[in-house]
């Protein structure tokens, strides 16, 4: 039943999007101006544009996959076609995610377990945290150029704080009794860190992974908006400059798919790593 409604709502929305504007002249009060295809294009047009941008259909309108070499030729014609753009955006997102998560975790652990360090750094962290990270993107492009590095740094900056705060909280919340139990079972300082503090804090880290990967993607796209050689963000900006609503929509849909796949992947990893938790053990 839920599935029925989900499909019905989806098809309904697509139908309004596709044919809604045709009613605009007859019943203007019913159809808002935002449905103008100049802004949002139309599903059918977006689909055709997707086939063109993805080099699935040649400029003559033939399927490229039928003619050997046609797909490669089309890809070779542009240095920022849909596939290359997706590859670069995805690659930079994963790098930003990986560097942000690992450095955020280490910093959170260090400061979370040391009252002295956290006291010293407290004002700086609060100050930095109140800067909207995205506001720094132009500076980063200026400093790191329009290549991949600036996108990774922007994504890293967005991710690192999120992971840092989660890890920090987690490192402070380690159960004292677990530490005591480990000590009484013969654990030295380093062993306590390795076998109690790190795994116990990991649970908090994992909780931040799904938002972290979405944040990373946001960071990369914003970086690409400002200046990039490749990437879906650049595609959107270029399509906007040409007034091509369909082109922008194709890029947005690809981003949506990338986002969904990334989040699903992270959630799977998360579920596996947190399998010891009550909720996940009951599910198995």
């Amino acid at each position: 039943m839920t599935l029925f409604w989900q499909i019905a709502i989806g098809l309904g929305a697509l139908a309004i999007w596709e044919w809604g504007w045709a009613l605009h002249d007859k019943v203007p009060w019913l159809v808002p101006d935002i449905l103008d295809p100049y802004f949002v294009s139309k599903p059918s047009e977006i689909y055709r544009q997707f086939l063109r941008m993805g080099c699935l259909v040649s400029s003559q309108g033939d399927w490229t996959l039928g003619t050997p070499g046609a797909f490669e030729k089309c890809i070779g014609r542009s240095e920022n076609n849909l596939w290359i753009a997706t590859y670069f955006t995805l690659k930079n997102t994963l790098w930003g995610f990986a560097t942000g998560v690992s450095s955020g975790f280490v910093l959170g652990l260090l400061l979370g377990r040391s009252d002295r360090l956290s006291e010293i750094f407290y004002p700086y962290i609060t100050a930095f945290n109140s800067i909207p990270r995205i506001a720094l993107a132009p500076i980063i492009i200026l400093a790191f150029g329009i290549g991949d590095a600036s996108k990774i740094v922007t994504a890293w900056l967005v991710v690192v704080f999120l992971v840092f705060f989660n890890t920090f909280e987690g490192a402070r919340a380690v159960d004292r009794d677990h530490i005591n139990a480990a000590r009484l079972l013969g654990a030295g300082e380093w062993q306590v860190t390795r076998t109690v503090i790190v795994p116990s804090t990991m649970a908090w880290l994992f909780a931040s992974l799904t938002p972290a990967v979405s944040f990373s993607l946001i960071g990369v796209i914003v970086g690409e908006f400002i200046g990039a050689e490749h990437g879906i963000g650049r595609m959107i900006i270029e399509a906007e400059a040409r007034g091509e609503a369909a082109g922008m929509m194709v890029a947005v849909f690809v981003l949506m798919i990338v986002g969904v796949i990334l989040a699903a992947g992270v959630r799977r990893i998360q579920a596996y790593l947190l399998r010891w938790r009550p909720a996940s053990t009951m599910a198995t």
């Binding site: 000590r183 079972l185 795994p199 649970a203 938790r277 009951m282």
Partner: protein
């Protein structure tokens, strides 16, 4: 029977502990002294808040006393420096939730660097002794309270501590599970005969398990009386409770304990 005098394992001498509660000093333990010999199973019995757990935690080096001395195997106890031959079983569930039953029980052996092969054998043996066969790969979250406490017990026992400190380990369990755990503990202990200091407020539990009951007074905690529990061993945790000797000793200690419960209420 040997004629050499029994070796003292734990000695507590005029132990004192003061806590600060809302700016006021509360004497938790006042001038407590006793001695536990090798292989003795001693229950430290008293109403809640009498400082019995505090004494145990001071022996375990978890908290520092304000006065007096503790000696384990004739060496003074230094707070914060755990003693290798002493094992501790918590009242609270302190199993590592991210480790399986196997991983929890084998933890101490991992720390000590015991080779994987030997570790596996010893863990499997411990799992069998605790009646946990088939649960090796389970995480604590999917075990019952009684099973978790069995894992806790084995996690401590696998390191073969000669001295065992237990802080109301079965306090959170229902009556049935508790009796079950008594049988498990008795059979394990009767094989190894560790020196045990067992904190409890449950007189039945103390009589079932211990050779001696040290009765604490209500706050401030002092040693009020020392009873010998000379029921023959091996004991049956369930049948023991039906014997006249059990009833007799129960009422004798109960009377003394009751006075302290009354004091604890009025204080």
């Amino acid at each position: 029977m040997q004629n050499t005098p029994p070796r003292s394992r734990i000695e507590i001498d005029r132990l004192r502990k003061i806590f600060l509660a809302e700016g006021r000093e509360v004497v938790a333990v006042d001038d407590a002294s006793f001695r536990i010999d090798d292989g003795e199973f001693v229950a430290l019995l008293g109403p809640s808040g009498c400082g019995k757990s505090t004494i145990l935690n001071m022996v375990a080096t978890l908290i520092a006393p304000n006065g007096g001395a503790i000696r384990v195997d004739d060496a003074p106890v230094v707070p914060g420096r755990p003693i290798a031959q002493v094992g501790y079983v918590f009242q609270k569930d302190t199993l590592f939730p991210w480790r399986t039953v196997e991983g929890n029980i084998g933890y101490a052996l991992e720390l000590a660097g015991v080779p994987t092969g030997e570790r596996k054998t010893r863990v499997a043996e411990a799992i069998h002794q605790a009646g946990l066969d088939g649960f090796d790969r389970f995480y604590p979250a999917s075990l019952s309270g009684g099973m978790r406490q069995r894992v806790s017990l084995m996690r401590t026992l696998i390191a073969r501590p000669e001295i065992l400190l237990m802080d109301e380990p079965f306090g959170a369990l229902d009556t049935h599970t508790k009796l079950d755990m008594h049988s498990v503990l008795l059979s394990l202990w009767e094989r190894e005969r560790q020196t045990v200091l067992f904190v409890t407020h449950d007189l039945g539990e103390a009589l079932t398990l211990a050779d001696r009951i040290i009765l604490m007074s209500a706050r401030p905690g002092r040693v009020k009386a020392d009873f010998k529990v000379d029921f023959p061993r091996p004991r049956d945790a369930v049948k023991l409770r039906e014997t006249p000797q059990y009833a007799e000793l129960f009422s004798k200690v109960w009377h003394s304990l009751g006075e302290e419960f009354a004091k604890g209420r009025s204080a």
